[in-house]
Amino acid sequence: MLALFGLIFGALLAILLRPTVPQDLSRYVAMAVVAAIDSALGGVRAHLERTFNDRVFVIAFVLNAAVAIFLVWIGDQLATGDALATGVVVVFGVRIFQNLAAVRRRVFGG
């Protein structure tokens, strides 16, 4: 419940503050969002599985986002185009669905 309030609070904060990100960096922010969604769902899953460790969770959240951004940045530097960024998105996408499936199983049983 608190998590849901946090989500809404963060969204409201962003709407009110209207932070702007330079166009060049918008791709990295998007990638961080994908990583963050994965981490959040992972956190929810761990919470439901009672294996939640707040330190691991926060570190994982920051680290996932950081590595995702780093990979995209490396991809840009190596001129692989969007290949590496696509790879990162795919990996996080798969993980998101896996975490979502685990949460679903935990909540609805199965």
């Binding site: 608190l2 998590a3 849901l4 309030f5 946090g6 989500l7 809404i8 609070f9 963060g10 969204a11 409201l12 904060l13 962003a14 709407i15 209207r18 932070p19 702007t20 990100v21 166009q23 918008s26 922010v29 998007a30 961080a32 969002v33 963050a36 969604i37 981490s39 959040a40 956190g43 929810v44 919470h47 939640f52 707040d54 969770f57 926060v58 959240f61």
Partner: protein, 239 residues
């Protein structure tokens, strides 16, 4: 423990929500920023298109100008040709070109008789006045170009004597004297006084005088043709 975990989760979700909205907003701002640029590009394209149309028009204009200029140049060429022909005619008249045509050759020579008459030795020689009279008669007979011993007669040519020597165009001549005259009619020339007189003198003093109708060549005048003092009087302003 549970409470801390919830707080951490909530904190992460705050960040997550913040990031999502920020990213979405950034994308929207980027799209919005692209819009005036798009309009700018469209107006730029339209502007360039009208510029291209203007340039096309200019090219067409220049093409037609070129054609007109070529026409003009051709006409100019025609004028030049006419001008060249005029120059040719004038130079023929002025004597700066060699000419060829049917005419007369008059040969005059001093008498080969011994000058027995001491009282009038000049009667056995051809004088400058003889040449003058012959040339005048030739012109009277329709001569268009005349040369004496290869010296072309022009408007400023003097025929005079320096001592016993005949000088034409300031060039001393050596006898015999050959006068070439293009266009002179033999019959008309034969009727002239000087020819009649020479007929008598031929017998009296033994002066050589032969007239022959043939194709003759008159060389070009080699002296200076430029006139420095004389100026043409305006065509309408003759006194």
């Amino acid at each position: 423990m549970h409470r801390r975990a919830s707080l951490a989760l909530a904190g992460v979700f705050v960040v997550l929500g913040f990031l999502v909205v920020t990213s979405a907003q950034t994308t929207r701002v980027g799209l919005k920023a692209a819009e005036p640029r798009k309009a700018q590009l469209i107006s730029l394209i339209q502007q360039r298109r009208s510029q291209v149309a203007d340039l096309d028009q200019a090219v067409r204009q220049l093409r037609s100008d070129t054609v007109a200029a070529q026409h003009e140049a051709t006409e100019q060429g025609q004028q030049d040709k006419e001008e060249a022909r005029r120059v040719q005619q004038l130079s023929e008249l002025a004597g700066t070109t060699a000419l060829k045509g049917r005419g007369l050759v008059v040969k005059l020579s001093d008498s080969d008789k011994a000058t027995s008459s001491v009282q009038n030795p000049g009667a056995y020689r051809i004088h400058d006045t003889d040449i003058q009279l012959v040339v005048n008669a030739l012109f009277d007979a329709g001569a268009e170009a005349v040369s004496v011993n290869g010296s072309r007669l022009v408007a400023t040519t003097p025929i005079r004597a320096a001592g016993g020597t005949i000088v034409v165009n300031f060039r001393p001549l050596t006898p015999p004297y050959t006068v070439n005259a293009i266009g002179a009619d033999k019959n008309a020339f034969q009727k002239s006084d000087i020819v009649k007189r020479f007929g008598r003198w031929e017998k009296l003093f033994g002066l050589g005088f032969k007239v022959k109708a043939q194709t003759v060549t008159v060389p070009s005048y080699t002296g200076r043709v430029a006139i420095s003092t004389a100026q043409p009087v305006g065509t309408g302003g003759s006194p």
